[in-house]
Symmetry: C2
Subunit: 257 residues, 2 copies
């Protein structure tokens, strides 16, 4: 590449999260990095955008790296919109989101702020990657991810110019020396079985905490859940056309008059 690629970074854990700081370190080796990330954690925000409130944006100086950084009061999807339309001088060559502290595999893609930023970039015609690690620990070991983040980002930059590639990449939690490899997968069919933890506040009013148990219904060996359970990094190519094409014929036969 003649010119250094322009790379937009964001996340949903907030601008100071270790996962994002790892991403910045790696992506500084790949191109010119601009960070536009939430000023506070935005986990579970899905593809939320701020339509009924104002957005703030502030330049940040967090470490002495070569990247430029901004924090915003918005969601991950807001960050991408603000970056592309207000902050960046030109359309970025790549958008990278993460590294998320926690899995965004299978059904989690729907609830994920990290992935919503990647999808938003894809909608705007920017190749994008969301990275996540299956480890909810704030001090998770991101070191082993670094090599693969760089390889995957370079591949997308090289092979997805002008294509709307969106990748959902998850790293398994491993104890061993290295990952077993990379699997290109489909999203496993799964869901969260919720339990609400019901409590009383000091004024005697009931409130709830949402908790849940992850249920994987999918025994397929071509899924992201299988790859992660077996020590592989999973990559699911993602699209934002949510049409269930196989149902169009069936519903066309209904008596809708």
């Amino acid at each position: 590449m003649e010119k250094r690629p322009l790379i937009l970074l964001t996340n949903d854990d907030g601008i100071t999260a270790p996962g994002l700081r790892t991403l910045i370190k790696v992506m500084n080796r790949v191109g010119e990095v601009v960070v536009v990330a939430p000023d506070s954690p935005q986990s579970g925000m899905g593809h939320a955008i701020t339509v009924n409130d104002t957005l703030y944006c502030k330049k940040e100086y967090i470490d002495d790296g070569p990247q430029t950084e901004y924090s915003t009061s918005g969601t991950p999807a807001d960050c991408v919109k603000l970056a592309v339309n207000e902050i960046l001088k030109r359309k970025p060559d790549l958008c990278v989101s993460g590294i998320n502290h926690g899995s965004n595999a299978s059904i989690n893609v729907i609830y994920s702020g990290t992935m919503s930023a990647a999808v938003e970039a894809g909608i705007e015609g920017i190749p994008s990657i969301g990275f996540s690690i299956v480890d909810y620990n704030w001090n998770a070991n991101f070191e082993k991810c670094e090599k693969y983040v760089e390889i995957i980002a370079k591949n997308v930059l090289e092979k997805s110019k002008g294509k709307n590639t969106i990748l959902n990449v998850n790293f398994p939690k491993i104890d061993k020396a290295d990952y077993k490899g990379i699997k290109i997968c489909r999203q496993a069919s799964s869901y969260w079985k919720e339990t609400f933890d019901k409590r009383k506040n000091p004024n005697g009013r009931n409130y709830y905490w949402l908790t849940g148990k992850f249920i994987n219904l999918d025994k397929g060996k071509d899924t992201d859940q299988w790859a992660l359970s077996n020590g592989y990094i999973s990559i699911v190519p993602v699209k934002y056309d949510m049409t269930s094409y196989d149902k169009i014929d069936e519903i066309s036969k209904w008596n809708l008059k």
Copy 2:
């Protein structure tokens, strides 16, 4: 049906919104209605869920209809989770969300709180419908929708038992006597071209309002945008598997080592 079906209603404009009140009126004719809806507007919330905050839930008495109603401090997706796991005695036969004040056709499905509630129900194995009207007016005329809401809901109840049918139904804005009919469609390929309205607050600090222009790139006559532009009600069957299957082969050939 021997027993009256149990129908869960929700929305993203809040429990007092005229669109939801219309839905309640119609669905009271179809089954036993329980409303669990946000206590304030949640537009643009996408598939957000409340993971870092508490949830409140309160019984409401808004009109003298036969339905049971609860408001919550959560998002539309939270409402469905709370209803299914805490409030309802059994799994509902149908979940209906809306009628949203504003279009959820094409790319709007991604940002839509209304549709996230329907998708959440689908994930939990409950047939569901999100209804929206292409009219942002709080006092939009919902009367013409009523007949079709009933027809579509009855069809889903009858034909989708045990299937994870999720429908995204949009009503066009019409001046004439009635809609031209119903089209079963795919989601049009489109996006929002944002502009940020930059202002200064009384303390001199910059802030932004997100505004945008809708761009439809898709000339297909099989899309929801085409149907709506031509006076038809659009129905898009929706799924939550976001895998881009046609890209799996291509990416498998990349050099990811």
